[in-house]
C-alpha cells in the first residue's frame, strides 16, 4: 500500500508541465490523484517522476464558448456539479459528475484526469462521447483538438501523447428540443458503474438526433450505434440492440452475459427518460 519510489515536481504552468514531462522518461502527470495514486499504491505502475499539475489554477474554470461550454481540465468534479453554466446548458455533465465516487473523490478528482485516464468504467468518458464533445491538448508542438470519438483508444489508453497535457474540455449546449438521461447501475452508491447508459435525444415529435453512450461495455466507452440507428428509423424496440457491437467484461460485479441483458434494460429506461417534450 506504499508506492514504489518516485521523484516529484510541481508544474507552475502548462508549458512547464510539458517541459518537465519531456525531461524524463516514464514521467506521469498528477492531477487529482484519485485514479493514479491507487494504481501507484498497488504498485501496478511505477513512474519515475510525477509532474503535479494540481496547482495550476488557470486550468480550473467553466466558461461560455458560444455554442459550447468550455471546462478547464483541472476543474474538480465537485465544481462541475455546481457550475451554473453547465446546469443551464448541459445539465447531463454535472448530473453524471455528481454520481462519481463519493464526496471526497469529487472534491479531488478532475474532469481532465477522468478523461485522460481512459477508464472504460468511468462516467465522464461515455458522457463526452455521447455529446460529441472535444478536448484540447498541449504538447511540445503546440495545441491540438481531439474529438471525443478519437480520444479513447483502449482500456486506459487515449490519443494523448506522453508529453501532452489536456487543458480544456468542450461540450455542446443542449436546447429545449433535447432530452437526456444518465442511468448508472452500480452495486454501492460509491461504485463505478456495472453498466452506465447515457442517452441524448433531440426531436420535437419525431426523433432527429440520438446518441447513446455506454459505460463498462467494452475496452473503451462506446456508442450504441445500432440502437441509435433504430431510433432514427423509428423501429419499435431500439433498446433490444443496445449490446450490438459491445464486448462487456466479466468480473465480480457481473458477467458479460448479465451486462448484455442489463444494458438493454437500462437503454430502454434511459430512452424513456430522455424522450424530449
Amino acid at each position: 500500500m506504499i508506492p514504489a519510489p518516485f521523484d516529484y515536481e510541481v508544474a507552475e504552468s502548462v508549458e512547464h508541465a510539458v517541459e518537465l514531462l519531456g525531461g524524463r522518461e516514464d514521467a506521469k502527470l498528477l492531477a487529482g490523484g484519485h485514479s493514479l495514486l491507487p494504481v501507484l499504491r498497488l504498485r501496478f505502475a511505477r513512474p519515475a517522476l510525477l509532474v503535479d499539475i494540481g496547482r495550476i489554477e488557470a486550468l480550473s474554470y467553466v466558461r461560455d464558448a458560444g455554442d459550447r461550454i468550455a471546462i478547464g481540465a483541472l476543474t474538480r468534479h465537485h465544481d462541475v456539479v455546481g457550475a451554473a453554466l453547465l446546469q443551464e446548458h448541459c445539465p447531463l455533465v454535472p448530473y453524471a459528475a455528481g454520481l462519481i465516487g463519493d464526496p471526497q473523490v469529487r472534491h479531488r478528482g478532475t474532469i481532465g484526469g477522468s478523461l485522460a485516464h481512459g477508464d472504460p468504467a468511468g462516467d465522464l468518458p461515455a458522457v463526452l462521447l455521447a455529446l460529441d464533445g472535444e478536448v484540447d491538448v498541449v504538447g511540445p508542438e503546440g495545441t491540438r483538438t481531439i474529438a471525443a470519438a478519437e480520444l479513447f483508444r483502449g482500456p486506459f489508453e487515449t490519443a494523448l501523447g506522453p508529453q501532452e497535457v489536456m487543458t480544456e474540455v468542450r461540450v455542446p449546449k443542449l436546447t429545449g428540443d433535447h432530452g437526456w438521461s444518465y442511468l448508472k447501475f452500480r452495486r454501492r452508491s460509491m461504485d463505478w458503474a456495472t453498466v452506465g447508459v447515457v442517452a441524448v435525444v433531440k426531436g420535437n415529435g419525431s426523433i432527429e438526433e440520438a446518441a447513446v453512450g455506454l459505460v463498462s461495455m467494452g475496452a473503451t466507452p462506446l456508442r450504441a450505434r445500432a440502437t441509435e440507428q433504430a431510433l432514427l428509423a423509428g423501429e419499435s424496440d431500439p433498446a433490444a440492440l443496445a449490446d450490438d457491437g459491445t464486448d462487456p467484461p466479466s468480473d465480480t460485479n457481473g458477467s458479460a452475459e448479465y451486462r448484455r441483458h442489463l444494458v438493454r434494460v437500462l437503454v430502454r429506461r434511459a430512452l424513456e427518460e430522455a424522450r424530449p417534450g
Binding site: 504498485r43 452495486r187 452508491s189 463505478w192 460485479n253 441483458h261 442489463l262
Partner: protein
C-alpha cells in the same frame, strides 16, 4: 465472605443514554493507535507473501534485500526456525482426532494460500521495508489448489497438508432425541441447502503491532491491535518461549475487530521474534489489501437442513449438516466457530429431535475464524430460511408457522441440550409486525403483483434466539476449548473521591468505559465522570479473557457487580464502626450507609480506609475489591427482525426499503450503545445478504482483494433502521444482562433473504444464494421461467 445483594436502583445511570466517554478523544484525534506509536530505535517489518495458493518453495534468497541501503535484516523461514518454541496457537480442537497441522509464522516448505508469509524484511522505514520485500527472491513450484470445502473432501483433491493424507480436519456430532423416528413419522419434510458466503471482517483500523524489548531483563512489551491481549500473552509466551511474566501485552485504542482481532497472528510472533533477535523495537502495520489476505475471514460453509413437521406446520425435529472451510491453517478458534451455532439450528422453536454434524475442511485459502456472530448467523439463517420454506410448502403465512412453534416456557431445556434462560418471543414478534404494519405491507405486495409492477415487494422475518456471554468454563471444557470463560473486575475507591475500575474484557470500540462507569456509578453512588475504567494492558489488569462472543457485559460486567458487592460489604463494616452501630443496623443505598441515627457516604469511607486511622479490628486498610466471575449459563438474546425489500425483476437489483428490529438483550445499560451495536450488526448482516463475498478463482487467487471489489456497504446503501426492544432480564445474573454485540448480524441475513425470496415467490423463485447480487437475482428469475 458471604455478602448481601446490593439493591440496584436501575434508572439513574443504568439505563440512561449516557454519551460515550470514549468519543471525544477519537473525534479530536487523540486516540492511541498502534500505528501512531513511535519508540526509540524502532525498525519496520514487511512480510514477503506467496502469490500462489499452493506451491512448493524451492529457494528463498534474501541477499538482494540485504543489499538495500536501509535494510536492517532479512530472513527466510529457515533462518528463523530456532525462534519458535511452538506453533501459532489453536485453542479449540473440538474432537480427539482433530487434525492440527504445524503452523509456524513463516512457511518453509510450501505456501498454502495466497498471502502465506515466506520471508521477512526489517528496515529503517516502512517504505524501505516494502521496497526491499520486493527484492527477496523466492522460487515457487506452483501446485494445483482447492478452494471449495466440499470439493476439498472429494477423492483426489489436492491436499493442503500432505502429511495428513486428507483435507478433513474433524467431524463433530450432536444427536438428541429420536430424530430418525420423528422424520419417519413426519407428514411434511422440508429441506434446504445454503451457502454461507465467505466474508472479510474489514475493521476500520488495519492490524498493527509494535514490540519493544528490554534485552537486559529479557522483557518485552507488545502493543497490538488485538481484541485479546490476555490470550495473546498466554499463547505467544508459548510460541516464543518467553516466560509469561516477562511479556506485557497492551491493546491501546483498537479500531474494531468483529472477531478478526480475536486472534494471535504470525506477525505478532514475528515482531516478538525479531525484536528478540535484533534487540530493537519492531513495528509492522498491515496494508488494507495485505489484510484482505493475511487477516482471518469468516463463514465459508455449506449447510444442509431438514425439518420434520406435521401438516399444521408444527416442527418435531431438525437435522443439520455443515461443511465448513478452515482455510489453510487453524488459527486461534478456527475449528470451533461453526460449532458455536451447533445448538441453534432449531432456533426459537420447540422441537423434540435434534441432530447436527459439522465437518471442518482445509482449503488453500486464508484461514477462517470468528466473524461477528460466529456460528450463530449461520444457524439462524438455515433455520429461518427453512421455516419460511415450510410455510411456503403448507401455503401458510410465515408468521403463523413461527407462532405455532415458538418456545414459550422459560427456562427451557432445549432438545439440543442447553437451557435458554428467558425470553418472550411473541412479544418481540408482535412489536415488529405492529411497527411494520404487516397487514398493510401484504396488501401493498398483492396490489403490486396484481398490476404487474416489475418492482416486487418482499417481506421477510427472522425470529431468532442466540447464545452468547461466553461462557461457563465447565461447558467450554466439555467441548474441548482450552481456556476458561470467566472474567474479572477490580474496583479501587481512591481516597479523593474517584474510582478506578479494572476490567478483564478489553474493548475495541464497544464503549466499555461508558457502560462500566454507569454500572459502577449506580452501585457505588458516584457520578459517571468520577469512574475511570482501565483495560487492555496485562500489566494493569493481569487477568482477563477479553472481548468477543458478546461476552463483555454478561461476564465482565457481572464481575463488576460482584466486586461492588465486596466493596459495599467491607465499607459497611467501616461505616458501622464509624456510626457506632452493628453492621446489620446499617442500610446501604446508592453510595450512602444509613444507621438508626446518622449516615455516612461511601466516599468518606474510602478516605477513612486510606488514612486507616480508625478502622475496626481485623479490617485491612484501603477500599479495593476484585471478583472473578464464571457464568452459570450462556445468555440468550432473542428478537424479531423484519425486512421490507423491493426487487427490480428487470435488473435484479434489491433495495432494502425498511428494516425493523426488535431485540431483547436483557437489561439495557446504555440504550445509545445498544442501538449502535444493533445498527452495526444489521449493517454487516445486510452486507452478507446483499453485498459482501470474498471470491476466489479456481487457482486460489482472491478476486475481491481490495475495497473496490469487496463490497462493504456504507450509509447511503442501507436503510434507516426502525428499532424497538423488549426487556426480559436474564435470571442467571444479578444485572439481568444478556449481550448485544452480535444480534444484528445474527438475525439480519435471514430476514433480508427471506424478504427477497418472498418478493419473488409468485415468480417461482424459492432460493437465492448470498449475497443476492443483481446478477444472481436475475439468473434465479430466468431459471424460474424455464
Amino acid at each position: 465472605m458471604m455478602v448481601a445483594p446490593i439493591e440496584l436502583e436501575i434508572g439513574e445511570a443504568i439505563g440512561a443514554p449516557v454519551e460515550r466517554k470514549e468519543d471525544h478523544k477519537l473525534l479530536v484525534g487523540q486516540a492511541q493507535w498502534v500505528d501512531n506509536m513511535r519508540v526509540p530505535g524502532m525498525a519496520y517489518m514487511a512480510v514477503v507473501r506467496s502469490p500462489y495458493a499452493h506451491a512448493r518453495i524451492t529457494r528463498v534468497d534474501v541477499a538482494p534485500a540485504l543489499a538495500h541501503a536501509d535494510v536492517v535484516a532479512a530472513y527466510s523461514a529457515a533462518d528463523l526456525q530456532e525462534e519458535w518454541a511452538g506453533s501459532l496457537p489453536c485453542a479449540w480442537l473440538p474432537t480427539e482426532d482433530t487434525k492440527a497441522p504445524p503452523h509456524l509464522p513463516l512457511a518453509a516448505d510450501k505456501a498454502r494460500y495466497v498471502g502465506d508469509g515466506v520471508a521477512v524484511v526489517v528496515a529503517s522505514s516502512r517504505a524501505a521495508a516494502e521496497d526491499a520485500a520486493e527484492l527477496v527472491e523466492v522460487e515457487y513450484e506452483p501446485l494445483p489448489a482447492i478452494v471449495d470445502p466440499e470439493a476439498a473432501l472429494a477423492e483426489g483433491a489436492p491436499l493442503v497438508h500432505d502429511e495428513l493424507g486428507t483435507n478433513r480436519c474433524y467431524t463433530w456430532r450432536l444427536d438428541a432425541g429420536e430424530v430418525d423416528a420423528l422424520f419417519d413419522e413426519a407428514e411434511v419434510i422440508v429441506r434446504g441447502r445454503f451457502r454461507q458466503n465467505r466474508l472479510i471482517p474489514t475493521a476500520i483500523e488495519p492490524r498493527a503491532v509494535l514490540v519493544q524489548p528490554l534485552p537486559a531483563n529479557g522483557e518485552f512489551t507488545m502493543w497490538s491491535t488485538t481484541q485479546v491481549p490476555h490470550i495473546a500473552r498466554v499463547t505467544l509466551s508459548g510460541v516464543l518461549g518467553i516466560p509469561e511474566a516477562k511479556l506485557r501485552v497492551i491493546a491501546p485504542d483498537v479500531g474494531g475487530g468483529f472477531g478478526s482481532k480475536l486472534n494471535v497472528y504470525a506477525e505478532e510472533a514475528l515482531a516478538l521474534g525479531l525484536a528478540r533477535r535484533l534487540g530493537r523495537a519492531i513495528k509492522w502495520t498491515e496494508g488494507r489489501s495485505e489484510g484482505y489476505l493475511a487477516t482471518i475471514h469468516g463463514r465459508d460453509q455449506w449447510q444442509e437442513i431438514e425439518l420434520a413437521a406435521n401438516a399444521d406446520g408444527k416442527i418435531s425435529a431438525v437435522r443439520a449438516r455443515v461443511v465448513a472451510a478452515m482455510g489453510a491453517y487453524l488459527q486461534l478458534v478456527t475449528p470451533g466457530i461453526p460449532l458455536l451455532g451447533a445448538w441453534l439450528y432449531a432456533g426459537a422453536y420447540d422441537v423434540q429431535g435434534y441432530s447436527f454434524e459439522c465437518t471442518g475442511v482445509f482449503t488453500h485459502t486464508t484461514p477462517t475464524d470468528a466473524y461477528r456472530g460466529a456460528g450463530r448467523p449461520e444457524a439462524t439463517y438455515a433455520i429461518e430460511r427453512a421455516v419460511d420454506a415450510l410455510a411456503a410448502k403448507l401455503g401458510k403465512d410465515p408468521v403463523e408457522v413461527r407462532r405455532l412453534n415458538f418456545i414459550r416456557e422459560f427456562p427451557n431445556a432445549i432438545a439440543a441440550g442447553l437451557t435458554i434462560d428467558s425470553g418472550d418471543y411473541d412479544a418481540g414478534l408482535d412489536l415488529a409486525l405492529g411497527t411494520a404494519g404487516y397487514k398493510e405491507l401484504r396488501t401493498e405486495q398483492a396490489e403490486r403483483r396484481a398490476k404487474g409492477d416489475p418492482k416486487r415487494l418482499g417481506i421477510g422475518l427472522s425470529t431468532y434466539v442466540e447464545m452468547c456471554g461466553l461462557a461457563p468454563s465447565k461447558i467450554l471444557g466439555a467441548i474441548r476449548y482450552s481456556a476458561g470463560g470467566w472474567d474479572t473486575a477490580t474496583i479501587r475507591c481512591l481516597p479523593t473521591g474517584t474510582v478506578q475500575v479494572l476490567t478483564g474484557v478489553s474493548p475495541h470500540g464497544q464503549g466499555h468505559e461508558t457502560t462500566w462507569s454507569q454500572i459502577a456509578a449506580d452501585l457505588l453512588g458516584y457520578d459517571v465522570d468520577e469512574i475511570e475504567v482501565l483495560h487492555g494492558d496485562t500489566a494493569v489488569v493481569p487477568l482477563g479473557m477479553d472481548t468477543y462472543g458478546s461476552r463483555s457485559l454478561a461476564v465482565g460486567g457481572v464481575a463488576l457487580y460482584f466486586a461492588a458487592e465486596r466493596i459495599v460489604a467491607k465499607a459497611r463494616l467501616i461505616a458501622a464502626h464509624k456510626l457506632g452501630v452493628e453492621p446489620s443496623q446499617v442500610d446501604y443505598v446508592r453510595g450512602r450507609f444509613t444507621g438508626p441515627e446518622d449516615s455516612i457516604a461511601l466516599k468518606d469511607i474510602a478516605l477513612a480506609a486510606w488514612t486507616a486511622h480508625d478502622l475496626p479490628d481485623g479490617v485491612e486498610p484501603g477500599l479495593e475489591a476484585s471478583f472473578v466471575y464464571d457464568p452459570p449459563n450462556f445468555s440468550w438474546p432473542s428478537g424479531a427482525h423484519l425486512a421490507v425489500v423491493e426487487v427490480d425483476t428487470e435488473t435484479g437489483n434489491v433495495e432494502v426499503l425498511r428494516y425493523i428490529a426488535v431485540d431483547d438483550v436483557g437489561t439495557v445499560v446504555n440504550p445509545l450503545i445498544v442501538d449502535g451495536q444493533i445498527h452495526g450488526g444489521i449493517a454487516q448482516g445486510i452486507a452478507q445478504a446483499l453485498f459482501e463475498e470474498a471470491v476466489y478463482d479456481d487457482d486460489g487467487n482472491l478476486l475481491t482483494g481490495n475495497m473496490v471489489s469487496y463490497l462493504v456497504p456504507s450509509a447511503p446503501d442501507l436503510p434507516s433502521y426502525e428499532l424497538d426492544r423488549t426487556e426480559t432480564p436474564s435470571p442467571t445474573n444479578p444485572l439481568g444482562v444478556k449481550g448485544v454485540g452480535e444480534t444484528g448480524a445474527i438475525a439480519s441475513p435471514a430476514a433480508v433473504i427471506n424478504a427477497v425470496c418472498d418478493a419473488l415467490a409468485a415468480d417461482g423463485v424459492t432460493d437465492i444464494q448470498m449475497p443476492a447480487t443483481p446478477e444472481r437475482v436475475w439468473r434465479a428469475l430466468e431459471e424460474a421461467k424455464r
